[in-house]
């Protein structure tokens, strides 16, 4: 057949290839549904079947997915921006200005990139809050789970997200950029012993100049995104290894309690090469068919809905709120007040309020509020899963009674961060003085 009609054979081959890239939206059988996951490259990281619980909108709010979608929007918008932006101190500001006013749709590219970055900080943070409140960093009863490690990867991803935002807003070389980097790198320099060296290394000198700009540019466009991609891959791989979302563990516990007859687990050995079984194909749920649906189209459909919604919201916000561009960077005039972006304002509040004098020695708030307190917070986040001794009944359960106390402690910290952010955003005026929203700011001459 193939020899008699080579064109037909080629067509068939092409179709096969195409099948491996696309998948059936509406599979007509379980077989077709399973095939689309097993044969398709884009879907290979999904399980063939997922529980209904883990698909539910209001267990996870899909915040992790939304974060990932935002990250991919940032990559896609970031690449054309790299072609249009010039990382030199003479031309950086002008090239951003050109983007804003001369390049076709330049304002939209830059705006979408900026809005997505803001949203990503929010989404990643909320994702962390969700995982904590639902006790989803806890292991259930399945073998080889290591959700604590995945939580730590998540904390690292949050820090990477913040670093990406930080390095990103130096790039326009406007006033916001210059003073944010001044403050940020001085916080680094307040670290004992290595501080000054660290600042020198970060800036590539003693002052913010060309060396600094190119350093932050390379960090922003290459190192940090690569770091996020690697961590993200590992994050997703762990989710699969840990048996999916934590709420699934509760389901299998309930079934065991009900005394449902266990069914034979589906396990695959790695062709006899190792004795271990790949964990993720082992069914942890006893009555699988009752609780699971095929990933294709159920998971893929929701994934696309989440993607579409995220993209729509980001695009809408871009059109509604124009990305600001302040005056060109001026080392001699600090804007008054000089404010960091909203997600760093709680830190700006902290460094303002934490200079202490103990026994005649004054400790700079830059160290206490800028390094010590955030460091303690990150450390606490890292060790928390190992200190949490609640039972498996609290795995993947929102606001579990057993974990009430720690949830309250966590919420207090979150509330404190939010309150400091709100104070910094709305209640601080010139010279970082406190003003109620109804009080007007005094007019202060710009120059001396």
């Amino acid at each position: 057949m193939a020899t008699r009609f080579p064109a037909l054979a080629r067509l068939k081959k092409g179709r096969e290839t195409w099948k491996q890239i696309k998948w059936t939206w509406l599979p007509e059988s379980n077989r077709e549904a399973g095939d689309s996951v097993v044969r398709n490259f884009l879907l290979h990281w999904f399980p063939a079947k997922v529980t209904r619980q883990s698909l539910s909108w209001n267990y996870s709010f899909w915040l992790g997915t939304i974060s990932a979608v935002l990250f991919f929007i940032l990559i896609v918008t970031g690449i054309p921006l790299m072609f249009l932006y010039v990382p030199s101190v003479e031309r950086a500001y002008l090239s951003v200005k050109d983007l804003e006013f001369k390049v076709s749709f330049g304002w939209f590219l830059r705006g979408l990139h900026r809005v997505s970055a803001h949203l990503m900080v929010a989404a990643v943070f909320l994702h962390m809050v969700r995982v904590f409140l639902a006790g989803a960093y806890k292991n259930g009863t399945a073998a080889n789970q290591n959700r604590q490690l995945n939580w730590i990867i998540g904390v690292a991803l949050l820090l990477f997200t913040l670093l990406l935002s930080f390095t990103g807003y130096l790039l326009p070389c406007d006033q916001l950029a210059y003073w944010a980097i001044t403050v940020g790198t001085n916080i680094a320099s307040s670290a004992p012993l290595v501080g000054e060296k660290m600042r020198f290394f970060l800036l590539g000198g003693h002052t913010i100049d060309q060396n600094t700009l190119i350093r932050f540019y390379v960090l922003h466009c290459f190192f940090l995104p690569m770091g996020v991609l690697l961590l993200f891959s590992y994050h997703m791989w762990r989710v699969r290894k840990d048996g999916g979302l934590a709420c699934v563990d509760q389901l299998s516990l309930e079934q065991k309690k009900e005394g449902a007859q266990p069914i034979k687990s589906k396990t695959y050995s790695l062709l006899g090469i190792t004795s271990g079984r790949t964990v993720h194909v082992e069914t942890s749920i006893i009555d699988e068919d009752k609780h699971t649906v095929a990933s294709s189209p159920n998971l893929t459909r929701r994934l696309l809905v989440a993607t579409l919604a995220t993209l729509a919201v980001a695009a809408l916000l871009t059109i509604l709120f124009h990305a600001p561009l302040e005056e060109a960077a001026n080392p001699s005039v600090t804007p008054n007040p000089a404010k960091a972006p909203w997600y760093f304002l709680w830190l700006q509040e902290l460094v303002t309020d934490t200079t202490f004098t103990i026994a005649g020695i004054t400790i700079n708030g830059a160290f206490i509020g800028g390094i010590l307190l955030p460091g303690v917070l990150v450390l606490a986040a890292i060790v928390w899963p190992y200190l949490d001794k609640s039972s498996v009944r609290a795995v993947g359960v929102w606001m579990a009674t057993e974990r009430r106390k720690q949830n309250i402690v966590f919420l207090i910290v979150v509330a404190a961060i939010l309150i400091l952010t709100i104070v910094g955003t709305y209640l601080r005026g010139p010279y970082w003085n406190f003003y109620w929203p109804w009080q007007s700011w005094p007019t202060i001459p710009r120059h001396f």
């Binding site: 003073w179 001044t182 403050v183 001085n186 916080i187 020198f200 290394f201 590539g204 000198g205 003693h206 002052t207 100049d209 060309q210 060396n211 350093r215 080392p331 001699s332 005039v333 600090t334 804007p335 008054n336 007040p337 000089a338 700006q348 460094v351 303002t352 309020d353 934490t354 200079t355 004054t362 400790i363 700079n364 708030g365 830059a366 800028g370 010139p430 010279y431 970082w432 003085n433 202060i444 001396f448």
Partner: protein, 190 residues
Amino acid sequence: MWRKKSAPDQAPGTLHQRETPDKASIDLTKRKWISRVGLGAILVGIGGQAYALIRALVPNVLYEDPQRFKVGTLDQFGEGAKFIEDKRVFIFRQKNTLHCISATCTHLGCTVKMERLNQAKRVTVRGREIDEQVEFACPCHGSKYYGDGTNYSGPAPRPLAHYKLELAPEDGQLIVDTSQTVSQDFRLTV
């Protein structure tokens, strides 16, 4: 490595009998040694080159403005304070004395703003009463300094730096040396 396990277990007369335990252990030591040398070479190779890569990012030459610079002839400085914008320093003149205060906030490095007071304010600084004409305030985190640079409010941990002043012998211009901080009492008499 598999030999390690099998060697002691082998009863004499089996397939591996030619290898006495002694020879096996010598082989093992050799192997271990060679693999350690190899591993060490890899680590040293990677470590050394990593050092070179990172060291290359620490600049040896800086194209920054000099820390010692001229700010103008004496007749350009009238009584009171003058801000040298691009150098971020204030020059103060009181009759025939001059001194220089840095405009860089000691908290996190923002440029402080000078506020001229409508009427002289009597404050006690460092055990002395002075009538000050100006004060400094930082826009970033609200630190406040008296006219002599002493911090009195906000997160600033120490007074603003005072820099050494001198006169250039060749053209009589005032020279600021920001690499040399001096005491708050330093005055250049002209």
